[in-house]
């Protein structure tokens, strides 16, 4: 049994104009910290086993959970007024919006007209970098691997 209550004041504190904190127990903070460290271990663990496409998903989901723990318990949004929650949520939603709309462009360029916007100069046929068509025109994005002298620990390759 815990001797310390999780919150020392009920939300309906007397309206005496004083600040009434929900002082959380140290125990709860320790539990949250351990959970956060555990999730970090999990992220690194997920990295070492290959999940393919799902690695990104796993990383983002676990990070979101960790961030949620920090926001909910450490930043005490749990006990905060609704509007402060809305402010936080609003910021996250607007970042999502920014990303979704921007990537709706960058991932779908040149679908209808493959050359639209891809060429710097129509006469020379030079392609702009940064567009899918441009990358393909440049022969992909890979350069040759550097040749390293055998048994080199880096000294030999030094310019």
């Amino acid at each position: 049994m815990t001797t310390e209550p999780l919150a020392s004041h009920s939300p309906s504190s007397p309206d005496d104009g004083e600040v009434h904190h929900h002082v959380a127990s140290a125990r709860r903070h320790v539990i949250v910290l351990l959970a956060l460290l555990g999730f970090t271990a999990l992220t690194v663990g997920a990295y070492t086993i290959n999940l393919g496409e799902w690695n990104l998903v796993a990383a983002v989901v676990i990070s979101t959970l960790k961030a949620a723990l920090v926001v909910w318990f450490f930043m005490e949004l749990k006990d905060d007024v609704a509007f402060n929650r809305l402010v936080f949520l609003g910021a996250v939603i607007f970042i999502g919006l920014f990303m979704a709309y921007t990537m709706n462009d960058t991932r779908h360029r040149n679908r209808v007209d493959a050359y639209n916007g891809a060429r710097v100069d129509p006469r020379s046929g030079e392609f702009a970098g940064g567009t899918a068509a441009g990358i393909v025109a440049q022969g992909g994005e890979l350069g040759p691997l550097p040749v390293i002298a055998a048994e080199s620990d880096g000294e030999a390759a030094h310019e």
Binding site: E18, T43, Y47, F74, M75, V81, F98, E141, G143, G154
Partner: protein, 232 residues
Amino acid sequence: MSTEAHGDSHFLQHHYDTPAQQFNAAKLGMWLFLAQELLFFGGLFVAYGVFRSWYPQAWVVGSHLLDYRMGALNTAVLLLSSFTAVMAVRSAQTGNQKATGNFLLATIALAGVFMVVKYFEYAHKFEVGFLPGSHFAPHGVGLAEIVEAARESGVNGVPYHLRTFFGLYFVMTGVHGLHVLIGMFVMGWMWNRNRKGEFSTRYSTPVEMTALYWHLVDIIWIFLFPLLYLID
């Protein structure tokens, strides 16, 4: 002593009626500030998303060029510092001045550890030429590291856009590091105010606001770590 209801509230600014009003306003103000911080970093994450989707090979190889153990260590350090920050707040709210000071110092120390680790990471990248954009010129050990990273990630060549990866790596971690430094400075200031006995069970708002800021810096890193260091 004054017998007025809030007569001894020397911390209460003249334009507020009650300490609760002042506290609630400060807290809302802080959350709004954090919202703008989120949008600020949000831009970087959007750029990250765009280029990661365009240059997946550069991102895989680039992330193998970062030392994920250092990143994990720094993640643990920052999480721990978030814990000490929250304990500083708790101590301030319960009127334990000494513990407040100590927890603040611990938070500053952990932030310092983070920056030192970061320094070693940066120093190595500068040394081997893993520099952003137009300055990207790997040499020496760097070349061997690229070969190794390409092998590990199954990429048969050197992605041209590694320079973009490192461009974003330095901007993202750089802006984040700047926030860590600012946080250290503010916590040092709070430590000094606490030492002078400015905080009490009735008034610990500045410590709480500083901690909120610090948690946000932590949250940014929680996302930066897997997105930069852990790409397969």
